[in-house]
Subunit: 222 residues, 2 copies
DNA sequence: GGGGCGGCCGACCGAGCGGTCAGCGCCCTG
DNA sequence: CAGGGCGCTGACCGCTCGGTCGGCCGCCCC
């Protein structure tokens, strides 16, 4: 190529240092001086490449969003039966989250207690499409007749995402919890959960005193 | 009582304001001036009651820990069959988390990416006992013979906690996700998840190509 | 009624913050 | 080889940060 330098090497180092620091310490706890030192550049150079600390943060976030979205979309290109697709999604999603821990933590911190506008933006740009695909897999299994239809696909998708999010965000707690031996075995964690959910999904459509009926049996204790 | 004033009313207002601000904005983003203004006191008065900003934060955190632990222990005093105990735990835990949203967010932020020492302290003081109780309920159901024994009780407990944590921490995202109609119905969310897990638990001990066997079938793609 | 004491305040401090600016040197072009 | 632009820097700016200090004011005990 002729002369398409793109971001300077120094700019890349700034982005990398900023990503690590923002993910580990949080936006407000990191100073531009910290980032400059970690990247081995002068503070002024950071403002030469980025308009402000916030603009730098947003660029870091944008890249993390883009990479997460790309990896998520690359997941599961081939066709397979619904159970297998669920298994692959769960494994792949968790593996991706752990591979880019800093990026994942950035996104998690962003969705944690986000404003409605922020949440909508993140859903539209990053999570929405994959969540839809996940619910689509479940709905497909239900249409096949293999799975019960009284479980909301969105709820099952949420449960799977919740499991992976928890593993990623609170892994250190998992390591300390009594009786937990899977903190270092994410694949076993993912697989076991999917199998458990799959068995729940294959059960009969809930005859007992469960929570199937849309009637409001909801008694808030008043 | 004669003269046991305890914390001054102003000190209580400071604690309340600090809790709300720390929970919503994060420790580093909140200044002592912000807290003073929100509490309607002078900044100097804050340092009159608390040695430092960090000491104030720790006191807020200590109170939130204590209250969470007390409410969790109050859950489920009466005996019941395992399934019902699981149901009550799930509902109660989620209700408590949402009732004291600020306190819950404080704890969640603390466990998010915590250092090992911090994680251990929080497990020892707050979560450990309840996690043990939850795994105990599951193990009891397995001993009864009602539930399959190839599911790790700790994993099921983790999954339940993960579901509640996710609902609490990322509720705004839930509201924006396509096809999600339970963002405003925490009790339905909790109940449906428990029923799904219960059905998975009642299934046969996993004959297929599941993830039961302790053999390492783990192939990381290398 | 006088005195002490604890809750509380306004004013102030040094440090560190995000951000600016004039200028230096390298490299590419004419 | 002259010149201009760009990547980059050290020094500097105004401001806000967490924290301190001397003193006021009202209550309670003698």
């Amino acid at each position: 190529m002729p002369h398409e330098p793109g971001p300077t090497p120094a700019a890349e180092r700034i982005l990398a240092a900023a990503k690590a620091l923002f993910a580990r310490e949080g936006y407000a706890s990191v100073s531009v001086r910290d980032i400059a030192e970690a990247a081995g550049v002068s503070k002024a150079n950071i403002f030469h490449h980025f308009a402000s600390k916030e603009a730098l943060y947003l660029e870091v976030l944008r890249r993390s969003c883009e990479s997460a979205r790309a990896l998520l979309q690359a997941l599961e290109a081939e066709e397979a039966e619904p159970a297998e697709r669920l298994r692959r999604f769960m494994r792949g999603d968790l593996e991706r989250a752990l591979d880019d821990l800093d990026g994942t933590r950035l996104l998690l911190a962003e969705t944690f207690d986000a404003t409605p506008a922020r949440a909508r933006a993140l859903v539209d740009e990053v999570f929405g499409a994959d969540f839809r695909r996940l619910t689509g897999i479940v709905a497909g299994g239900q249409r096949d007749g293999a799975w019960r239809r009284d479980i909301d696909p969105a709820l099952l998708a949420t449960l799977m995402i919740a499991a992976n999010t928890f593993f990623t965000a609170h892994r250190e707690v998992l390591r300390q919890l009594p009786g937990v031996d899977f903190a270092e075995a994410p694949e076993r964690y993912a697989d076991t959960i999917v199998e458990l959910l799959l068995d729940g999904l294959r059960a009969a459509p809930s005859d007992g005193g469960a929570a199937p009926a849309p009637q409001a049996q909801q008694g808030d204790r008043s």
